[in-house]
């Protein structure tokens, strides 16, 4: 089973790397993002880059957006490019196909974030280290990476559902975009429908937790939701019930 999941994930990566190398599908924008987040922003922020709380917002956001492009394509792309039926005619199980695609998307986002963090850290050290090794505290790194992973996993859970139902990649991306927008409006909804005293209460308790603990909890919550979504996607993706083209 793991072998099959890996086989599918590997194929997904080969496909995306081909695209990136040809600078299609966001190849250029990815270089820009790397330049900005990995090089320019650490250069400008200096040592404060290492402790900036902003990291906890833009890294997860960025990673999930990387994950989302890949996952939106996952099933809808195969359907649109007429490879889905042949894939389903192979001996790979439904579960291995779905898990392979989720794994590919999550790892892609995660690898991207981790690499960028590493580049940023190296840049800060080269520019501002003055011979000393500047570090990010381990709990902070752990919290950040968990949040990134949880976010990617969650987004891929939603994305795989959207992709399953969409006839084309474009359609998948549009639906997905609307859902992401709704998710981003969560704070607004929170402000609208939760009584002000309760809001204050929740916010103060959250800030008591500290950024790291809060991130870990959020990551845990997202992870749990993601698990439920993934299980549901696996249940739904069954040969005989999937629209082939």
């Amino acid at each position: 089973m793991m072998h099959d999941v890996w086989t599918v994930a590997r194929k997904e990566w080969l496909e995306i790397f081909d695209q990136l190398l040809r600078f299609k599908r966001g190849g250029w924008s990815i270089l820009l993002i790397i330049a900005f987040l990995g090089v320019i922003s650490p250069l400008q922020l200096g040592t404060s880059w290492l402790s900036s709380p902003l990291m906890f917002f833009y890294w997860p956001l960025l990673t999930t957006s990387m994950t989302s492009t890949l996952i939106a394509d996952s099933i809808a792309g195969e359907r649109e490019r007429h490879t889905l039926e042949t894939l389903l005619a192979s001996r790979l199980s439904d579960t291995a196909i779905i898990l392979g695609k989720i794994l590919a998307a999550v790892m892609y986002g995660f690898a991207f974030a981790a690499t960028n963090l590493l580049i940023g850290w190296t840049v800060v050290n080269l520019k501002h280290g003055h011979g000393e090794l500047l570090t990010i505290p381990a709990p902070r790194v752990a919290a950040l990476l968990s949040l990134i992973l949880g976010g990617s996993f969650f987004i891929s859970g939603i994305g795989v559902f959207v992709s399953l139902r969409a006839a084309t990649v474009r359609q998948a991306q549009q639906t997905f975009g609307v859902i992401i927008l709704l998710l981003m409006m969560a704070p607004v909804i929170f402000a609208q429908f939760v009584a002000p005293e309760r809001q204050a209460n929740i916010i103060s308790r959250a800030s008591e937790l500290g950024l790291e603990t809060l991130s870990l909890r959020v990551a845990g919550g997202l992870g749990a939701l993601a698990l439920a979504l993934n299980v549901a996607a696996i249940r739904r993706f069954k040969r005989g019930a999937v629209v082939l083209d």
Binding site: R10, L14, D18, H82, E85, A89, R91, S93, L244
Partner: protein, 318 residues
């Protein structure tokens, strides 16, 4: 009796607007090339999808080597290879990566994979171009790659949905040879659909003809021809005017007359006397140069079967 490679019993598949398969029943023995023929929309592709467990039947039962693809789909697909309606190649991947992916999917060892991929790509003349992205390839080249993919893991059963579509005559002929060899020497069962009737006649030891999801006929190409193709004489000569042709059509023993360039094609009713027909023509002033007995071609038989008259023809099996 051994288990047939394929057994279809009372198969019905309804789509929202159409009954694609209508109580279809037939068996395909193992180790032969079976040709599944029928006009566009007849239901050929749907049958393949049902047999691979990609589409569930509305009614009826199918078995592939004794296994119901509905419940034992994994087992069926383990031993089957397929080239479906779309070639299904990954255009962003190279030829090598395409085959490698499917080799891994079927758990071929890396050594076996490498050797087999090399063997197949060389056989199809694609080895030199193995590292190119397939997206830039011609339709026929992609089709060849898809055939290679279908047989990569040495399946017992291969489904080929119009495999020679897009291939040049040389490539088609060599694919036919390969398929015949696979069936004869390696005992592989080949289930193929094609719109090329000459190809079906040459390659298939058994054919089934369907239209609107119903089986019209089933047997060897020779059986289909002898059961249906009325005997024909072709007559060439001078003086075959329209009046003569019209007169001839009314003569006893003649089922129908058609002009075919310089000649006429006379369909005989059973027991007709060719000598009397020739004598009639001579009497009508025709200078006969050639008289030749002929049989209906496989194509004629097919056309007769699937045309609407095919419904009324005797011996139609439902």
């Amino acid at each position: 009796m051994t288990v047939p490679a394929i057994r279809v019993q009372g198969l019905v598949r309804d789509f929202p607007k159409v009954r694609a398969l209508d109580h279809l029943s037939f068996d395909v023995p193992a180790g032969i090339v079976f040709g599944f023929l029928g006009p566009n929309g007849a239901g050929k592709t749907t049958v393949i999808r049902v047999l691979l467990g990609l589409v569930n039947p509305t009614e009826g039962r199918t078995e592939v080597f004794g296994v119901d693809p509905r419940t034992g789909g994994e087992q069926v697909r383990q031993h089957a290879g397929a080239l479906l309606e779309h070639n299904g190649v990954y255009e962003r991947l190279t030829a090598l990566q395409n085959l490698d992916f499917f080799g891994r999917a079927w758990h071929m060892s890396s050594g076996d994979r490498a050797a087999r991929i090399r063997e197949l790509l060389s056989q199809f003349g694609l080895w030199e171009r193995r590292d190119e992205s397939v997206g830039g390839w011609s339709r026929g080249m992609k089709q060849k790659l898809a055939v290679a993919r279908a047989v990569l893991h040495r399946p017992r059963l291969v489904f080929l949905d119009e495999p020679t579509a897009g291939l040049d005559p040389v490539a088609s002929a060599s694919l036919r040879d390969d398929l015949a060899r696979l069936a004869q020497q390696e005992g592989v069962t080949i289930f193929l659909t094609t719109h090329n009737l000459a190809e079906a006649e040459r390659l298939c030891s058994l054919v089934g003809v369907i239209r609107r999801g119903q089986l019209l006929d089933f047997g060897t190409p020779a059986e289909l021809r002898s059961a249906r193709g009325a005997p024909i004489v072709r007559i060439g000569g001078r003086g075959l005017t329209d009046e003569v042709v019209q007169g001839l059509a009314l003569t006893p023993g003649v089922g129908g007359v058609e002009r075919d360039r310089e000649e006429i094609r006379v369909q005989l009713v059973p027991g007709a006397d060719v000598g009397a027909i020739v004598a009639w023509l001579v009497g009508a002033g025709v200078a006969i140069e050639e008289v030749r007995r002929d049989r209906a071609s496989f194509e004629d038989v097919f056309l007769e079967l699937v045309s609407s008259e095919g419904d009324k023809a005797p011996g139609v099996t439902r």
